[in-house]
């Protein structure tokens, strides 16, 4: 069996195990539900029904009361009893009163609020760090219908923050994994899976059936697409994002008035008319993310959604009142951790929600709007010549084998290996003998102007240390082989190659390649 089929078998085993667990859980729930039933039936028997001779009044009825009067009373009583067994006597089921009791007794929700939640349909786009906690709380709160959109499968590196998924479900689609968790959390909620990525062509038909949308995605392109779709369909949008120790949240298009109505809430394009330069966009994979940080933001999205769905019209005004638009900023390591920023209202020239809007349902459906293009793509870094790069395998040979050309013995000390990952990553694991010069230290260093290099003093100790060993070639390594190219270029600009006498180059594919090809034990944390 090759690697892929082994992997597939493992995957299937895991999925079977996970489904068996789910089956056990369902059986347990069924048994529990069945054990409740007789109890409920008994309770119904205890409800007031007419039982002759059981009390003095009954005796009167039987012996001393006129028959027509007795029949009349019996009729009333029997009607009462019929009414008590009608299924629609109370708007919620017994189970629902018990389940939602703690939020039902709050004036902010109340019975009317609970019914609004029950009648609401919510779409969560992205079932990751934001979508998992948001979905948990909304399903817990009893929204009627919850749709989930995602194209990814669960990975081990998701589990520290994506709380609906589990170790056994690594490899399962995120939507399916979330369904398992959410179904067992609250079987009253109708869950609708949308496996796949939201595209301009599918956006309108996917979003249309829902009342409100949560943007839990992680790219600028999807954020613009979701916002545009919500404006076109008149849906409020709860948008959040997180990175490292920071989070942000906005409720957009709220109230969701038609395009051109300036009393509607601003959309994503009103706040950010132009996308950020692609090289400024950092993903959780590259920048890192603390689980509770993104969790807080997802929970807040659920909270804002509940607020929007249950809001009541303000007195004297038919339309429900809306808060002025704000951006909530969360920063885990500052004090206070939260702050709220007052945002602008709709932009008079917004491309999506103004009278001059150029984004139309037709343009979206036809696929003529290219959001990925709009937001730009970072081209893969590739500006070193082949002579300036070495593969992980060849670098390993250089360290471990006799050089076939020069006959020199392998030696870790006949060259310098510079690891340009940030210090915290270097400390997780590094190649023996490498020195750490973080990328931020290198990229932050001003480059001397040409012809002045002789008088420029080295304002960083690592530069002078590299200058002190002019004979040793320098190998630069980073995570994937992008930053290392930038650093090689920079070191040459700093004149460290002695006008071409010293070889400076990088290891192609970085430590990812090193781990794949040479050292399988090297920590895989990316």
């Amino acid at each position: 069996m090759d690697m892929t089929s082994t992997h597939a078998v493992e995957l299937l085993k895991k999925q079977i195990a996970s489904h068996e667990l789910q089956l056990d859980e369902l059986k347990r729930q069924l048994a529990e539900a069945q054990s409740y039933q007789p109890e409920q039936q008994q309770q119904e028997l205890h409800e007031p029904t007419f039982q002759p001779y059981s009390d003095p009044l009954a005796h009167d009825f039987a012996h001393g009361v006129a028959e027509d009067y007795m029949n009349e009373v019996l009729d009333v009583l029997s009607h009462q009893s019929v009414q008590s067994t009608l299924p629609n006597r109370w708007p919620l089921s017994q189970g629902e009163y018990r389940r939602y009791g703690r939020q039902l007794i709050m004036p902010e929700i109340g019975l009317q609020g609970q019914l609004k939640l029950k009648n609401a349909s919510v779409l969560i786009i992205g079932v990751g760090g934001l979508g998992c906690p948001a979905a948990s709380y909304l399903v817990g709160a009893g929204v009627g219908t919850l749709g989930l959109v995602d194209e990814d499968v669960v990975e081990e590196s998701n589990l520290h923050r994506q709380i609906l998924h589990s170790t056994a479900r690594v490899g399962m689609s995120k939507v399916d994994s979330a369904l398992v968790s959410l179904q067992s959390l609250n079987p009253n909620v109708k869950l609708v899976p949308h496996r796949g990525r939201l595209t301009p062509e599918t956006a309108i038909s996917t979003v249309r059936p829902y009342d409100i949308v949560l943007d839990c995605t992680d790219t600028p392109a999807s954020r613009y697409l979701i916002s545009d779709t919500c404006v076109l369909l008149g849906k409020p949008l709860v948008s959040a994002s997180a990175l490292r120790i920071d989070g942000q949240m906005m409720v957009l298009n709220n109230p969701p008035r038609p395009a051109g109505d300036l009393t509607g809430g601003p959309c994503y394009r009103c706040i950010f008319p132009k996308p950020p330069p692609p090289e400024s966009v950092v993903t959780c994979g590259d920048g890192g993310i603390l689980g509770p940080v993104v969790g807080v933001m997802g929970v807040l999205q659920a909270l804002e959604t509940i607020k929007v769905l249950t809001r009541t019209p303000s007195p004297g005004n038919e339309a429900p009142s809306s808060e002025p638009p704000t951006l909530l900023i969360f920063s885990a390591y500052t004090n206070p951790m939260f702050r709220s920023i007052r945002l602008r209202s709709r932009k008079a020239k917004c491309a999506a929600c103004s009278p001059h809007a150029t984004i139309t349902p037709e343009a979206l459906n036809s696929g003529s709007l290219d959001y990925v293009q709009f937001c730009g793509i970072v081209d893969p870094v590739n500006f070193l010549s082949p002579e300036e790069r070495i593969s992980a395998e060849n670098y390993a040979k250089l360290r471990m084998e006799v050089n076939p050309y020069t006959g020199t013995e392998p030696d870790k000390n006949n060259h310098i290996l510079v690891d340009v990952r940030e210090k915290v990553q270097f400390e997780i694991g590094n190649i023996e003998g490498s020195v750490n010069i973080p990328f931020s230290n290198v990229s932050g260093l001003p480059v001397p102007k040409p012809n002045t290099s002789s008088v420029v003093s080295d304002n960083a100790t690592w530069v002078s240390e590299l200058r002190n060993t002019p004979e040793k070639p320098i190998f630069v390594v980073c995570q994937r082989g992008n930053d290392s190219q930038v650093v090689v270029k920079k070191l040459k600009e700093l004149g460290l190659d002695n006008g071409g006498q010293r070889w400076i180059g990088d290891i192609k594919g970085g430590l990812v390649a090193w781990r794949e090809k040479i050292d399988r034990d090297f920590p895989e944390y990316y």
Partner: protein
């Protein structure tokens, strides 16, 4: 010839990762001239217009930012797309954008949008 222009003290704050460009420091106390200087054809300097956010951005790039990656902060002469500027906790769009005239004690916050989720 004029006397030294009056100085004003403000706080500048960076968030959402922008602090990485400013020595990884969130809060900065900044003292800037209340007015820009104007130089006429006879090289006489006189008091020019009040200092605006535009002037502050230039000042931050020239004097505070150590990182050479300026294009992660400014683009085409203004703050790059994807950065919100907030003056005393209000979107600068409501305050006249980069033409806003800075006052003593103002708090200016630059927030980079996040995209992770």
């Amino acid at each position: 010839m004029t006397s030294e222009p009056e100085k004003i003290n403000i706080t500048v704050e960076f968030s959402g990762g922008l602090e990485l460009l400013f020595s990884n420091q969130h809060h900065h106390k900044v003292t800037i001239p209340s007015h820009q200087q104007k130089t006429d054809e006879k090289s006489n300097t006189t008091q020019g217009p009040r200092t605006t956010i535009r002037d502050l951005v230039t000042y931050l790039c020239d004097e505070v930012m150590k990182d050479p990656r300026r294009d992660l902060f400014v683009l085409d002469g203004t703050v790059r797309p994807g950065i919100l500027v907030l003056i005393n906790d209000t979107d600068w769009e409501l305050e006249g954008e980069d033409a806003y005239e800075i006052k003593e004690g103002d708090a200016v916050l630059f927030v980079s949008t996040l995209h992770g989720g």
